[in-house]
């Protein structure tokens, strides 16, 4: 009996179309990309139906979670100037090198006495949970709280460098208890910042 001969087909597949799709996706992701900054205090923001996007310049973000408060301000030059002002306020001398290193820290949460230590730390150590205890929010005697000073000086620094008013946003964890948030709001109101934004994630309207 004659065997039926199955013609041997090439196993080669045309990759052109797949390559096109991959290139398209890649282009899309590159163009829409904004690198995610590692956060020292990860928070789960509540969702809302608000559609307004958060601006990225001239803004300070107060992160509240686990009872701790972290602070960060946009702009490297602003951050360098902020550290200078804080150094003057609390009589701590910072070297230009330290200012340079500080200007690269997006967000931090240590008392002023530990800022030097924080600057000396490596990036990975800084991000470890528990490495930063949070900025003190309670006022000591007649002195305003440290958070108050950070916000005030960040506003001064932003005004000096960018000549615009700094906006303040609060990024709180969903499960954070109201009294902590209230304390932060009170600190803002104490320096007549009556308008600020709450950062939320997106939610569909039901």
């Amino acid at each position: 009996m004659p065997r039926v001969k199955v013609p041997r087909k090439s196993t080669h597949i045309d990759m052109t179309a797949m390559c096109d799709v991959a290139a398209l996706l890649l282009t899309f992701f590159i163009l829409t990309a904004t690198a995610r900054q590692p956060e020292p205090l990860p928070v789960d923001t509540p969702s809302s139906t608000v559609q307004i996007k958060q601006p990225t310049t001239d803004i300070a973000t107060i992160t509240v979670g686990e009872g701790k408060v972290f602070f960060g301000v946009a702009g490297q030059t602003v951050r360098a100037r902020l550290l200078e002002l804080m150094g003057e306020r609390y009589k701590v001398g910072f070297t230009p090198e330290e200012k340079e290193r500080f200007s690269l820290i997006e967000s931090f949460g240590v008392p002023i006495g530990n800022v030097k230590q924080l600057i000396a730390m490596g990036g990975a150590d800084r991000m470890k949970p528990g490495a930063q205890p949070g900025i003190p929010v309670d006022s000591v005697g007649a002195n305003a709280s440290e958070l108050y000073e950070w916000i005030r000086n960040a506003r001064i620094a932003t005004k000096e460098i960018n000549n615009t008013a700094m906006r303040v946003s609060i990024k709180g964890d969903s499960e954070e208890e109201y009294p902590t948030i209230k304390k932060v709001i009170d600190i803002l109101q104490a320096q007549e910042v009556n308008k600020f934004s709450l950062i939320t994630s997106m939610e569909g309207r039901d």
Binding site: M15, A22, L26, F29, N194
Partner: protein, 179 residues
Amino acid sequence: MAELDTSGGGGKKGGKVRSKKASTRVDLTAMVDLMFLLITFFMLTTTLAKPQAMDLAMPDKDEKNEDQFDVADTRTMTVLLGDKNKLEWYIGLVDKPLSAPTVDGYGKNGIRKAILEKSKEIKASTGKNIIVLIKASDKANYKNLVDILDEMKITNTESYAIVDISAPEIELLKRDGIY
């Protein structure tokens, strides 16, 4: 496989120089691999959804002048944020509410319904818009605050304020078991 033809074209002795017809197909497998690697990288390192910013304006705090206008209690709804993701609302004053304090939930079938209904009623009886006072107790969490502010946006309530809670109101929350 579609290798590029690297053998020198023709070059046979004499005759016409005839270059070998090479296939124009290039193997794209490696390129596709690389692209997917990059796509994966960008997908994991990007934040696509920029966070939303909900604007909040607080009333000026330490105003020395005492010319604060009286808020008509007939059009004031007070929302107390309590424990366990529950809230309680009433209209009027805490010691003589015009509508009995009601425990309610957040969302579409909870407070939103109440606000819409009451604002309609108040609009009909007084001709003015409803005023909502939000009073968060210490047991409320941040999500509750954002939720109630979101409801203000959804129901188009223009006059609302975040106010400190008072002792009789905490008693009220305690009575209803949400403090």
